[in-house]
Symmetry: C2
């Protein structure tokens, strides 16, 4: 196959005619496939459904003397705090165990920052003239939505293969209006990269002008390898402590992609001072989170070592899907030279960089042919990708046979959008 | 027994010596009993623990086509919305099913009212010069705490035997700074009364000056009779709709005292417009609440009729405790004529009105003798009871044999505090 960039106009026109015919053909199949969100597949949910029967009797419901069925223990059951400390390699006193969604705790922190302030805030953020959030992108759309909801100015920081552009981050945090940065440090959403040790160290060493600057360290895929063994990852809590700013970071993790996305449990890791502060703050809204589910999860997942075995089972479902995506792209797109992507070894997404100016068109072509992808640009602040060159692929939900069809549609759409672009000049 | 008010000083002194000796005696027993919070007893949790094994297989986890284990259905599983509509006698489209705590949703509503506003708000409440909440008292301390946390001015409205003083409420809502009122309309916390039909109708007919005035209708004990049959209760949602202000009311209920206080599920009932508005607002913080637990609950509680049977089982544990409290008060205090209380037929609390100026002293005497009650005054805004005459008794947690001891301590402490007061004059 000749790269598109080496084709003559005549060749491009011939290619366009061919690809258009292919597109018409797949469109006629009237598919209805969804790769929009990072949802676990039914097969994954089935293979962890033994968790349903872990707790059977009243006696099963105790963590030591504590009856999980009753009120109390706002910061979480001791066994659940110990479990997450094991997974994240911090201390149990650094852990607050919440409800079904870590996103809810992130939003609560932003909400209370605006109405009351964080530890060290000179005043509630709503009293500030302006509040700015740094948003490495492509990133997680729901992070950006929270910032936008609270009226923060979202500042785009480009991602690099080792993490966010740290030169820019270090420069921006000199501005006291810059109050937060949001990142997924391991198997980042959607690039699937792992932040380098240097990047992580530079995060811990940040010296922001704002005394209440906060890093939202959303470690959503902390143990979510689908290829190869678990990759060790530094404990950002102790690193920030050692660097002299223990209260600067809030780390999050959840079981949404370990057990049930629709019925899991979540945790926040932070300095002891922050855990105390937010136990007080959350005490206004909650008597206690769902401790029965916390206990059910701890008894099922046991410890980090055993949870990694559970993750291997997920990997057996996930890996073939990522391989399918990779195979189609390598076979159909790579020789044509107009797009690039990363092959991650963990997480839930693949970033696909299309020919600039064609991501939206590719998305529309897919949709018209019955394949729904995450909206083009959604991974950028204000859903605005200046280059219009990014699509997020979420291959986890459909079975492989559906994914094969979806990837055929996607690769044809990619080509068609690129050819349209090249021919319009 | 002679009422204290009819005793001579000499008689009072003799009585004081006798009661003081009794107090020393009970103090020497070094009790450690807690009647501070409305926690269900272990016996209650045990009798509903069959809920643990309601869901056993992947197939059990579906509500129609919807897999409760995966993301989606932010407003709740259809079966859970239908269940709560049955209990509260409204429509499923009026229901939003949340997480473990209804308090969390109430706080979310206040939080978003301050940062963004409610439907119909001219501006976010944080932009208002002042925001006032009406707080019928004695009431639920955690309601008042939320208002205080967000800086609202709390206005004390006295409770009457038929509900809040509605003349005062109707007068106060003419002030556009008055934005909310918080009530527990059935088996009120802590008086245990049921609002009269007239009171409820006057609530629905309120014509507040603030276009975004909201009634927080915390129907926490909607089916929580422990004596006699279920008492029907009007649907405030349709009543406000009929009165022309459908968006004025937010009703709440939960399973915290039906299944597990530490692992239940909750709901909000409101106008369809409010449900849509808050589904959008909550969509910023949540992908979905714990639907597995929603389904587990619906399969266990089935419908209103069957849930009332479950409540009869709870009643068999609760009633003897309330009877114990009542018996001690009737026997030891009633003839002395210096205190009053209500004997409720549902809910979790008894309001005990001590001799004015002695509630705090009674509380301290109990504490010194090893019996912890809810802090005196806690049921009033800012924890300030102007008459210092109220204690909330929460008899649900201790077994009856412990309660007997606790009531002995309480009745002795009540007498001692009253005698000290009478003798200091």
């Amino acid at each position: 196959m000749t790269p598109y960039s080496c084709m003559t106009r005549q060749q491009l026109e011939a290619e366009h005619a061919k690809v258009l015919a292919q597109y018409q053909h797949v469109k006629d199949q009237k598919l209805n496939l969804n790769m929009a969100r990072g949802k676990p597949a039914k097969a994954q949910l089935d293979l962890v459904s033994d968790i349903l029967t872990v707790l059977q009797t009243p006696e099963d419901c105790f963590d030591g003397d504590i009856d999980s069925r009753n009120y109390g223990e706002l910061a979480g059951l001791p066994c659940a705090r110990a479990y997450w400390a094991d997974v994240l390699e911090c201390k149990p006193e650094n852990i607050f165990v919440g409800g079904a969604a870590s996103l809810n705790m992130m939003c609560d922190i932003v909400s209370r920052a605006f109405t009351h302030g964080l530890l060290g805030s000179p005043q509630p953020w709503c009293k500030e003239e302006k509040v700015k959030f740094l948003c490495p992108a492509p990133g997680y759309d729901r992070h950006f939505q929270i910032g936008e909801f609270y009226g923060a100015e979202l500042i785009y920081i480009p991602m690099t293969p080792t993490g966010p552009d740290m030169d820019m981050v270090e420069e921006y945090v000199k501005d006291p209006q810059v109050k937060m940065i949001w990142v997924v440090p391991k198997y980042s959403n959607p690039d699937g990269i792992i932040f380098s040790d240097e990047t992580i160290q530079r995060f811990a060493n940040l010296k922001p002008a704002a005394p209440d600057f906060a890093i939202i360290w959303d470690n959503a895929y902390c143990i979510h390898e689908f290829e190869g063994d678990y990759v060790p990852f530094p404990d950002i809590i102790s690193m920030c402590e050692e660097a002299g700013r223990p209260n600067m970071v809030f780390e999050f993790a959840s079981t949404s992609k370990i057990t049930f996305a629709g019925g899991g449990t979540s945790c926040m890791a932070a300095s002891v001072a922050n855990i105390q502060y937010f136990t007080g703050v959350f005490g206004v809204q909650m008597i206690s989170y769902d401790k029965v589910n916390q206990l059910r999860h701890v008894k099922y997942m046991k410890n980090k070592a055993y949870t990694l075995e559970i993750m291997k089972r997920h990997a057996s479902v996930m890996a073939p899907k990522f391989h399918c995506v990779s195979r189609w792209l390598n076979q159909e797109i790579k020789p044509l030279g107009f797009a690039r992507w990363v092959d991650p070894k963990g997480g839930y997404f693949i970033s696909l960089y299309t020919m600039p100016g064609t991501a939206k068109r590719t998305w529309s072509l897919c949709r018209e042919a019955g394949v729904v992808l995450t909206t083009a640009g959604a991974a950028y602040p204000y859903s605005h990708n200046p280059n219009d060159d990014h699509l997020r692929i979420a291959p986890s939900l459909p079975p492989v046979e559906d994914l094969e069809k979806a990837m055929e549609v996607l690769t044809i759409s990619l080509k068609l959008a690129a050819l349209e672009k090249l021919l319009e000049k």
